[in-house]
Symmetry: C2
């Protein structure tokens, strides 16, 4: 038969010549058009729905007419009567080409759907998960040609989907019953990287299957439950990392192992148990079973990464900071004791260096500095800060031990960002403060604030609150460049009170109980933390031989809450136009989600991390120099005042739930 | 440098031209000469010892002189002083080529050593196990080029051995300590098929590593512990299959599962526990640890195979006898709950068909009918008989449900082959019997027999005893062709006594306690069993369109004890010159051992089984016909007497311990 009909697919624009009687699905496949099909063209799954465009296409020199496709057939009629087929739609596996035709593939019929991310600058995520559902018809056993049921299933998968699959003994266990129950039609969950069948269902099964993206931090563990086929996040939740009881920061956990042989095993058990309990909570929230979760992608800093994998982190505590494994790891969830589907798989992103972990790799995947046209500095703020600097010509990475001060620890009135904590603060020209609490919409000088604050009390200051407090104190001259708080006499404010040999600033004095103050000790702790952060960034800038960056991205759960203006006043980050400072939210978690939903992203980040230039802060003399000179709070009022003069300050904040940027009511 | 020296290696005869200064080991490798090396040429392992032949070789046109090799160096001197180097030997990794030279590779320096099998007709086993020991030097960590210790180990394995290796999290756990303890030199146990590192030792480690070859039968489980590098069998041991309590034969075990849901799980647990306890016993006997065993190869009939793997065998009990898996399986021992080295691997041979299992495949591997010049019939006698017929032009296979009669079950005075059981019997012209017990060298009519028999008593008749008894009874006319025992009047022997409606023959009548007799019921059971065996063999002969075979091999633990003459008198096997009937001992166990010791044999048998033509006795009407006509005991005295007339009967037996064939004192 001659190939005498022109077929054009939209939106891809792919075209080819086909003979009469060719199925639309086959034509699409032969052209590489992204048209979904789970049942392999048997009219069961309806994933291959297409919309023919019947019109005159003079530009293409063809007329696409209703008679260009075969008539509506009994399979389509049956499907329409049972499940309903939208008007104008056909099943690509049933409709045959009979003439020149233009065929549109609607978004929901594309395999590789796009997830639109809410931040304008973020890359889209193409949905192409590591697990595919494959429907197959298996040949029945024949005594005269003996073979195993599994070998016939393998042959069917090869013939119908061109995949070579293996399966564990546990998966094989139910195979004979499943095949007979499904009348020799089954749907397999095929894990592409390991070529394993993770589960086999009788008949046609279309999911949903779920996956988890986990960001394992020193202080908190965050997880996002995603529907693999749509990319939708169903539940996001977190728990505290129970390893905190072994030490607040990374180095104290490594010390714990050095002092307590077997301490790594304890910590491995603790973190795995916490993840298991988090999974339990998430499945309850989502109304699904642990068995429904087939894959977990995890990111973490090198020490958390090693402890999760059951690897001793002691070498990471001393030069040359040797990782046991740096590469991405793929293994069965049961190897790590995680309670998911029996055959669930785990993927951990690669570590970049001994101090720059899989979390930094995930940030690189999410924020893609290696594709940036302008020079971007990405700072993932946490107990340990990961810092990336680069553009499409090259990326540098380091980590910096900021300590837990940014998270409210080591601060006299500090606390974690929970309801009742002061998260935003402004100090007027009269040196009087007003503030806003986590979980309370009103500012402290607004009507109804006290009423609303009754529910939680006013309990302390969280990380973003302390940054704003110190920056505002510097702006109003309460604090000098060296970080010293003036006395009541020096500042003319009764809120400055004597505190041992130095002074403190009272933000809130309740009728009973302790005052909420900023002490000189608090400022010292924040100075050290911000100096470490700044020094890391400057070190990378030295390596890159630049004096300024084009833009700054603040990442990390905490990073999302930092006011860019105040961060700059404080000297946490190098100078940069304030509108060029954006927040990426939990970029490490987003990177984990991208790797969960898009298999190609795994290969991409594995290759990217090899190209990243690693800088070890611990052995760079320049780091110490930058650190020492960065302890000052440099900006006084100058840049802030300067901005005020030319244009009203774009007082940017970020809604971490929507990720949308909005101007705050002043 | 020009390649101007001729080097000839013996015994391979390989030759090539090499430049001055080429190491002998490198020359050998480039020519593909089989010269061992574990340390990769570092003068540590001494596996590459060679013996230069200094002489005039006019046939090859060269003179091999002492100055053709570099001088004895300090590495060799040190090795010689510590461990001793045999006279005339050099280390191939140290000696360099300086002129024309002939170099002999002694057998112990060859990687692929040959194990000589004791039976003259058996193939040699080339030692090339699935696990290799690889010594490597690993690069130390460098902060300026961060990478994981494991990635540097992988790079070293690639560079020094050209292998790409992975490792489980459990193996990675101790890696950093091991590397530092070994001063960046380690030895890896590399499992070639799975590309996994199963263990890593600090420094140079030369084993020994062990493997187990297991023959899992319906009635007994036999295991052979082998040293992988030498092929030596250290311990052979066996236990009863505890599944017997669920049913004596295969079909009764399948029925048990049909009647008792979950019964397969019980049986899987029972057989795995039995193997674990057998492993424990074997390790104690050999003085090794479970951890020293790195691989286990298992063969079994399809139902035992499925139950071991944890697969439901119910489909194997009914047409079309569909296997869950037919192909060879490779998986971690822990998946089957076996307690060996943490990373130990299991390999199961492929099943040929629903009724012809991995045990038959192992027999095919051991006996290699597919390479036979003449037409060979191989009968593996057990509760289920596996039958192979073929030659290099093609092989047929079937199985036949003989039942447990051949193993002493269903026989009135029957018992298993244990001390005290009658295993051989002769009946004189006077119709008086004499016999021999298992574990007793003397015949019952020899002096001292009674004394020796006191230790065990005379407790019953085992399988080989009942075959000889009935055959001898037929020879002496005590039994007719239909299987009926004559009365005392008819036979003229008072040993023929009335037994209900038929008669019985008394072999042994103690002063107290029950007589040991052969009843008509016993003969009926053996008739059915031998008819099944014979019919299976005949069915294959029909398929092959032959009336006779060139030779017969009796296999199976029991097969080794059967007297070929009596088997033929009884009509168990088709007619064949009696000297052409040989015993292969436990050929299935040997096949398992071959697959354990030689990786290529696995690929070979996987390919061979695909070529074997499978015959399903259960659905062949011809099988029933043969069965019915084979219940008679045909030979009377004719063939036996005939042989007697021409030549003294070669009364062949087999010492199952040595495998050596010897003439018995008459």
């Amino acid at each position: 038969m001659s190939k005498n009909h022109t077929v054009i697919f939209t939106p891809s624009g792919r075209r080819g010549q086909f003979a009469s009687g060719t199925k639309v699905l086959d034509a699409a496949r032969s052209l590489g058009v992204d048209l979904d099909s789970v049942c392999g063209g048997r009219g069961i799954c309806s994933k291959c729905q297409i919309t023919p465009s019947f019109s005159d296409f003079p530009k293409h020199g063809l007329v696409s007419a209703p008679e260009s496709l075969s008539e509506w057939n009994s399979v389509e009629a049956r499907y329409d009567s049972i499940r309903g087929l939208p008007k104008g739609r056909r099943l690509g596996c049933q409709a045959m080409i009979e003439g020149d035709v233009v065929i549109d593939v609607p978004p929901e019929s594309q395999v590789h759907k796009q997830v639109i991310r809410k931040r304008a600058e973020a890359r889209e995520i193409t949905i192409d998960p590591a697990i595919r559902l494959l429907f197959v018809e298996v040949e029945q056993p024949d005594m005269h040609k003996p073979s195993g049921d599994f070998e016939r299933l393998q042959a069917a998968l090869k013939a119908q989907w061109d995949v070579t699959a293996t399966a564990s003994l546990a998966t094989l266990r139910g195979l004979q019953t499943t095949l007979r129950k499904g009348k020799w039609q089954v749907t397999c969950a095929y894990h592409v990287p390991s070529r394993q069948l993770l589960e086999i269902w009788p008949g046609y099964f279309e999911g949903p299957l779920y996956g988890l993206a986990v960001d394992l931090g020193s202080t908190t563990i965050a997880a996002h439950l995603c529907e693999l086929a749509s990319g939708e996040v169903l539940v996001s939740s977190g728990v505290m990392n129970p390893q905190i009881r072994f030490g607040e920061d990374l180095m104290s956990r490594v010390s714990y192992v050095m002092m307590n042989p077997g301490g790594d095993v304890e910590m491995t058990k603790a973190v795995r148990a916490a993840i298991n309990s988090l999974i339990g909570e998430i499945t309850v929230q989502a109304g699904i079973e642990r068995d429904d979760i087939f894959e977990l992608v995890l990111v973490a800093n090198p020490i958390m990464h090693h402890l999760f994998l059951g690897l001793d982190p002691v070498e990471l505590g001393q030069a040359p900071f040797a990782l046991t494994v740096a590469d991405a790891q793929s293994f069965a969830a049961r190897e790590a004791g995680l309670e998911l589907h029996r055959e669930a798989q785990i993927y951990t992103l690669p570590c970049i260096a001994g101090h720059v972990g899989a979390d930094a790799a995930a940030v690189a995947l999410s924020e893609a500095p290696d594709r940036s046209e302008d020079l971007v500095l990405i700072v993932d703020v946490g107990t340990n800060a990961e810092i990336l600097l680069g553009d499409k010509h090259g990326v540098l990475a380091c980590s910096s031990p900021t300590g837990p001060a940014f998270e409210g620890a080591q601060i006299s009135s500090g606390q974690r960002a929970a309801p009742g904590a002061i998260e935003h603060i402004r100090i007027g020209a009269d040196k009087e403060p007003r503030f806003k609490l986590v979980g309370n919409e009103k500012w402290s000088d607004e009507n109804g604030f006290e009423q609303a604050a009754l529910a939680t009390g006013i309990t302390g200051i969280c990380g973003s609150g302390i940054i704003e407090a110190i920056a505002e104190m510097r702006i109003r001259g309460i604090v000098d460049a060296s970080g010293l708080i003036g006395s009541a006499e020096q500042t003319g404010s009764a809120r400055c009170i004597s505190d041992g040999r130095t002074n403190a600033y009272v933000i809130y004095a309740p009728k009973e109980g302790p005052k909420i103050t900023v002490t000189n000790g608090d400022i010292r702790a924040i100075q050290l933390a911000k100096a470490a952060l700044y020094a890391g960034a400057r070190l990378l800038m030295d390596k890159r031989r630049v004096e300024k960056v084009d833009r700054v991205v603040l990442a990390g759960a905490f990073g999302a809450h930092i006011s860019p203006k105040h961060a700059m006043v404080l000297g946490m980050i190098p100078d940069c136009p304030v509108e060029k400072v954006t927040s990426a939210g939990n970029a490490a978690g987003t990177g984990a989600r991208i790797a969960l939903l898009n298999l190609a992203a795994r290969a991409e980040i594995e290759s990217t991390v090899r190209e990243i230039e690693k800088v070890e802060t611990a052995i760079e003399p320049a780091f110490q120099e930058h650190f020492v000179s960065a302890t000052n709070i440099p900006h006084a009022t100058a840049p802030f005042a300067g901005l005020r003069k030319t244009t009203p300050l774009p007082d940017v904040n970020y809604n971490t739930k929507t990720g949308k940027r909005g101007r705050r009511r002043s």
